[in-house]
């Protein structure tokens, strides 16, 4: 009985790779031009390969090389990947190099994923949340080979991943400790790395890519695009939820709705006397829109999933706030931050595309297989949590008052959406498009981003529906209809029931919250354009080119 097949297989791969590269292999380092030879030698058909398509950072040089391998030599790879962001992430399937996929998010490539899946060239194992995917790397989906990206390596293969560390620690550990092969593309090779994020012992091959790895500035939002309606909704969120529950620890989902809240903290929230009472600790990427709130003293700490292009100097100048290491630069960690979102945050607030009558929320639409990213982690009530906080206890109490059940707290999960989207598409529907996608893509269950069970509040321009306080399915449905405005779902409300819910405070309109809608103008934003953000940062923030007109 052989108990070290993995070690033997690993040794064979390394042997083949050394033979293929000859004396062009210098320690662990190989020239960029020989990458195809390395991959042909180190990979085997059917391998589980984890490629860094992270949310932001992309191991683009390696991804491109992988997609262009000879499918006669390497095929049927099983890709494990957080995000399918670049065209080559799908080319690898189109060309027959890979055939199977387990992933979390594919926003930019969602249409192509759907097409390749229905053409039979892409077999989806499952769509996951980030933390779920990383967890499986340690149980039933260990990568045999991982292709990652780092800022710098030294001659021993010690890696510095810096501010955009993101998913790398989870991926590398899972690969290295199952005798897998770790291949990294780096921007530069140095004598000494600023700090060691990945020990060289775990790294097998290092290649300096011709260009620095690509980073997507995903979390930058130009304040010039925030509308008055979004300002109104942000006011309601701050007064009706943040202040009401005393939310000190939170995560904001991506989008303009939450950017509006961030920009209202130093103005509207300040005017309500909320500094120090809300928004101290954040599980959040370094959003440029948070700069004014940081400068105004609202924000004590921000721990990030990744970094954000252009924020480097600002982060460096605010070491009390961001996750700065002994070397003086930031590190991010998607896995830990997702865990923090589960257990150490009292609220998640984010946007969505569709909500049904039970409060199930989905971004799935027919013809696009996009996945969920991190929202399902952040927007879930963590049953394993035990420590109390005022917000968590209050939410739990509201959900359980009058019911014969043991008391516990609950996470605030707020879905924030305008009742109509572009082209007058209603956000509230009787049946989610996710059902249609399930049929189309032959999934076991409809892809839901956040389950209605976990949603505590729905916030629209029409008001806030507090689902915690609903006691029956019917109350829940009418509470949702009551904030669904003039959508068909909203117009079909039971008027008397909705009025009753309003009397009981389950539905609150802006007036009920004491909000004067005339104040909901863009003048309330602490920054109204990119230049304002730069000024707020004292000139430290350097927006990427696409966001600048200077």
């Amino acid at each position: 009985m052989s108990w070290n097949t993995l070690q033997q297989n690993r040794a064979a791969r390394l042997q083949r790779a050394r033979a293929a590269l000859g004396n062009e292999l210098d320690g662990k380092s190989l020239p960029a031009a020989r990458i195809a030879d390395l991959l042909h030698a180190a990979l085997e058909c059917g391998d589980r390969v984890c490629l860094e398509g992270n949310n932001q950072k992309q191991a683009d040089f390696l991804g491109h090389a992988l997609a262009n391998l000879d499918p006669a030599r390497i095929n049927n790879l099983h890709m494990l990947q957080s995000v399918l962001a670049l065209p080559e992430h799908l080319d690898v399937f189109e060309r027959g190099v890979a055939s199977r996929l387990d992933f979390s998010f594919s926003g930019p490539q969602a249409v192509r994923v759907a097409r390749l899946a229905s053409a039979g060239k892409l077999n989806i194992g499952a769509i996951h949340t980030y933390l779920e995917l990383f967890s499986r790397y340690f149980i039933d989906l260990p990568p045999r080979v991982c292709l990652i990206a780092a800022e710098a390596a030294d001659r021993h293969g010690n890696l510095y991943t810096g501010p955009n560390t993101e998913d790398t620690p989870a991926i590398v550990e899972a690969t290295a400790f199952k005798q897998g092969i770790v291949i990294v593309q780096v921007n530069r090779i140095v004598d000494t790395v600023p700090r060691v994020d990945v020990p060289g012992d775990w790294v097998d091959f290092v290649v300096q890519s011709p260009r620095p790895y690509y980073i997507e500035p995903l979390f930058t939002r130009d304040p010039a695009q925030i509308s008055e309606i979004q300002v109104l909704m942000a006011m309601m969120a701050i007064k009706g939820i943040y202040a009401e529950y005393g939310v000190q620890r939170l995560n904001h989902g991506i989008g303009f709705d939450t950017a509006a809240i961030e920009l209202l903290l130093p103005t509207y929230a300040e005017s309500l006397g909320l500094r120090g009472k809300i928004g101290k600790h954040w599980a959040l990427n370094p959003h440029p829109a948070l700069i004014p709130a940081i400068e105004a003293g609202f924000v004590q700490s921000v721990h990030s999933f990744g970094s954000e292009l252009g924020m480097e100097d600002y982060i460096h100048a605010r070491p009390d706030v961001f996750a700065i290491g002994p070397d003086g630069t930031m590190r991010s960690n998607r896995a830990m931050c997702q865990a923090a979102g589960h257990y150490a945050c009292d609220m998640f607030i984010g946007s969505t595309l569709q909500i049904d009558l039970q409060g199930n929320s989905s971004t799935a639409t027919a013809g696009r297989i996009s996945g969920f990213g991190g929202a399902s982690n952040m927007g879930a009530d963590a049953r394993g949590r035990r420590h109390a906080s005022p917000a968590w206890l209050k939410a739990g109490e509201q959900a359980r008052a009058g019911r014969n059940t043991i008391p516990r707290g609950q996470k605030l999960v707020v879905q924030m959406v305008e009742t109509f989207r572009e082209h007058m598409q209603p956000a509230f529907v009787e049946k989610l498009d996710a059902w249609e996608l399930m049929e189309q893509a032959k999934m076991a269950i409809p892809p839901v981003m956040i389950y209605g069970d976990d949603v505590s509040h729905i916030l629209t321009e029409e008001g806030i529906a507090n689902l915690l306080m609903c006691r029956t399915d019917e109350e829940r449905e009418q509470a949702i209809r009551g904030v669904a405005g003039y959508t068909p779902v909203g117009l079909a409300r039971d008027k008397r029931m909705v009025e009753n819910l309003r009397d009981r405070g389950i539905i609150q309109r802006a007036e009920d919250l004491g909000i004067d809608k005339r104040m909901a103008t863009r003048d309330l934003l602490a920054a109204r354009n990119m230049k304002d953000l730069v000024r707020a940062s004292g000139g430290l923030y350097q927006p990427p080119k696409r966001f600048r007109n200077w």
């Binding site: 008055e228 309606i229 305008e418 009742t419 109509f420 029409e462 405005g485 003039y486 809608k517 005339r518």
Partner: protein
């Protein structure tokens, strides 16, 4: 383009100020012209919109608007370029508030 007309009775509030326009006819936006008019106590609303086929929604929005303000002898004229009900209600309320001397 579609033109919709509504007429509401039982209003009580008459506006004294000069005609006023609020908003801009841009994508997702609308302009609202509000004027005192001798209409036998009624409030009339004429909407010319680039978004065709949303009659029932416009009707519900106008009904609620009338419930809110109960205007009498007022003519409202709207040029709309695909604004959502949220923006429509916002602009119409802004128009009335300006006539009443607010912001």
């Amino acid at each position: 383009m579609e033109t919709l007309n509504y007429r509401f009775e039982q209003g009580t509030q008459r506006l004294k100020a000069a005609p006023h326009v609020v908003g801009v006819v841009g994508s997702g936006n609308l302009e609202v012209l509000i004027e005192p008019a001798d209409l036998g106590g009624a409030c009339t609303i004429e909407i010319t919109t680039a978004a065709v086929g949303f009659g029932p929604i416009w009707e519900a929005v106008m009904r609620d608007f009338h419930q809110r303000w109960l205007l009498a002898d007022t003519r409202i004229s709207i040029n709309d370029m695909g604004a959502t009900p949220a923006v429509v209600s916002l602009r119409m309320d802004q128009a009335v508030q300006t006539m009443l001397g607010g912001s």
